[in-house]
Symmetry: C2
Subunit: 348 residues, 2 copies
């Protein structure tokens, strides 16, 4: 369904943190657009959003909104996706869903183009965009796996508040001001909007992202564990994760420990692989204090890797420090990449 003039794209959740970045990305990457429909909940409907110098009015998302839409980028929460994704597909759209609604559905490809683009070919109308913290990790791990094998992953994350939405970022801002003014901190949103208790995130660290599962892990941790195995086609790869929310606005950082399969590797071998990997920028020169940070990665599309080093106590153990903009490669940019790949491969 190649279209000379471009494609009719709908963004569902256009007023949210990720929706905004999707629009910025479509504009910046010169995506071939014929038409753009902006959708949201009834609460945000009626808002106007500027796109390429034009004002577009956001409409309430209904089943009928998807008539004529070819690509629907969903990022309005899992319940909206569950309610409307199939409606969009039944009207001929391909859905790229940025929520957790369908990620572990066996019928739904879960895709990071640099890792498993081929999985797109089996799509049945819905493609899932993985969780932000998973995307950047698998982007860094896959080229190492392909060259040297990976037999184990243990990750601790350092995650930005924007992953919890614009209201979480606003809470960090307000609490930070209050703290610096010596005032009491009000906590209404973090760690999880709607959970029983709330704690200050300003000048603090919260070892809870998303709600707790019965096994003592958070849903975010289980997402990292399960999605990594699915995307990398490695159902038996041991993955252990601890996810922590921190007081910065943009980019997630991850301390990733891996064991490789091949013997005798050095840090230089990992460097070599990452230097040649798509979508990866190696920033690793300790003697010049070169390493990525959340601030340095913000606003950029790539996944940045530094602090690569061999474990002196384990012959196959290596550390990586992986940083990426959680709203770009972690969400909007990966979704748009999927759309680009669908077009390129005639999969719409």
């Amino acid at each position: 369904m190649q279209n000379q003039q471009g494609y009719h794209v709908a963004v569902v959740g256009a007023t949210g943190a990720v929706g905004q970045k999707m629009l910025e990305t479509l504009e910046k990457k010169a995506f071939p657009l014929a038409s753009l429909t902006l959708l949201s909940s009834s609460r945000s409907a009626g808002k106007k959003i500027a796109f390429k110098g034009e004002e577009i009015t956001v409409k309430e998302a209904t089943p009928e909104s998807f008539e004529g839409v070819q690509i629907a980028l969903f990022s309005a929460g899992g319940s909206v996706s569950k309610r409307l994704a199939h409606e969009a597909v039944s009207r001929g759209a391909v859905v790229i869903d940025n929520t957790s609604a369908f990620r572990m559905d066996e019928e739904v490809p879960l895709v990071v183009p640099e890792v498993n683009e081929k999985d797109l070919s089996s799509h049945k109308g819905i493609i899932a965009n993985p969780n932000c913290s998973t995307i950047q990790m698998v982007a860094a791990l896959q080229p190492i796996k392909e060259s040297h094998g990976i037999s184990r992953v243990i990750v601790s994350t350092y995650q930005a508040v924007s992953g919890a939405g614009t209201s979480a970022a606003e809470e960090l801002r307000e609490q930070s001001k209050a703290f610096l003014n010596g005032e009491d901190l009000e906590a209404d949103i973090m760690p999880v909007k709607g959970d029983k208790k709330h704690f200050p995130i300003a000048f603090n660290a919260l070892p809870q992202i998303d709600t707790f599962e019965e096994n003592g892990y958070t849903f975010e941790e289980m997402k990292m564990i399960n999605e990594t195995k699915k995307i990398m086609h490695a159902p038996n790869l041991p993955v252990a994760a601890t996810c922590v929310r921190l007081p910065f606005f943009t980019s997630h950082a991850e301390s990733v420990y891996i064991e490789v399969e091949k013997e005798g590797l050095q840090a230089a071998d990992i460097h070599e692989v990452l230097r040649n990997a798509d979508g990866i920028t190696l920033e690793d020169n300790p003697s010049e204090q070169e390493y990525p940070t959340p601030l340095s990665a913000a606003g950029k599309s790539d996944v940045f890797v530094g602090r690569v080093r061999k474990d002196p106590d384990h012959p196959k153990g290596f550390h990586l420090w992986v940083v990426s903009d959680n709203l770009l490669k972690g969400a909007a940019w990966n979704s748009v990449q999927i759309a680009e790949s669908l077009i390129k491969n005639n999969l719409l």
Copy 2:
């Protein structure tokens, strides 16, 4: 050398972040003091510090300052310790040194009283206080090791700026204000005072604590690795560490992954051990969102542990989230505990 009236104590580095906490701790814990001498570099000499309602003038530390001193608590940087610790010992003092100057010296016990108090008995005048990030980790690990054995440790840290001194805390405060006002951030201190480059710490994460070693690890990471093995008398225990500085003022948090030796353990077995361990407070109830955070641990003496859970992918793997006030148990309180133990065991 039991003294009915108490002991003559000197605090070297009395005007620094840790020195201040040492004075607060001596006061709060009702340490048996006969006399208190406050010492510093020539730069801070002459300052007056209130202690138990009395003003004490800080004097410049010289070899002669230690005449008559029985316990000297050093926390004025490694170079001061190297220059003056032996001078203090030669005048009859026992030195408890909070710098890295002597920690790996085979003649010097490196002590966390809950872990290896017995090592104090072999002291030759100098006792080293371990690095802050090491202390809280070994305090949590030792009881597990004693009950179940530990065969592997992989840790990623979340460390407060106060570990880099009062000027680092001030930099975080000033940068945070500037960021919230939309101004440019000036970075002159973090990640390491005097290193080649400086980066903003406000609303950021810096994967560098202390300077880099030739092997690509930071000195902080090597301290955690080497000190843990020495304190726990486990020279062959594999320890892997990544240390990260974060924008909060007080308390370090640590995501610690361990493998135990015993088979068939559950999280409840680790809970049981930690619940009965000296100096540990277990705060772990996911269904009620109970876990320690840097803010909740600040100002308290104990080491707090939460998020204890078994790795579903490894039969002997467990996660712990370990949080403690880096200036108290990580520095001042551990030093004062060592002094108390020396008194109790007639080791002065």
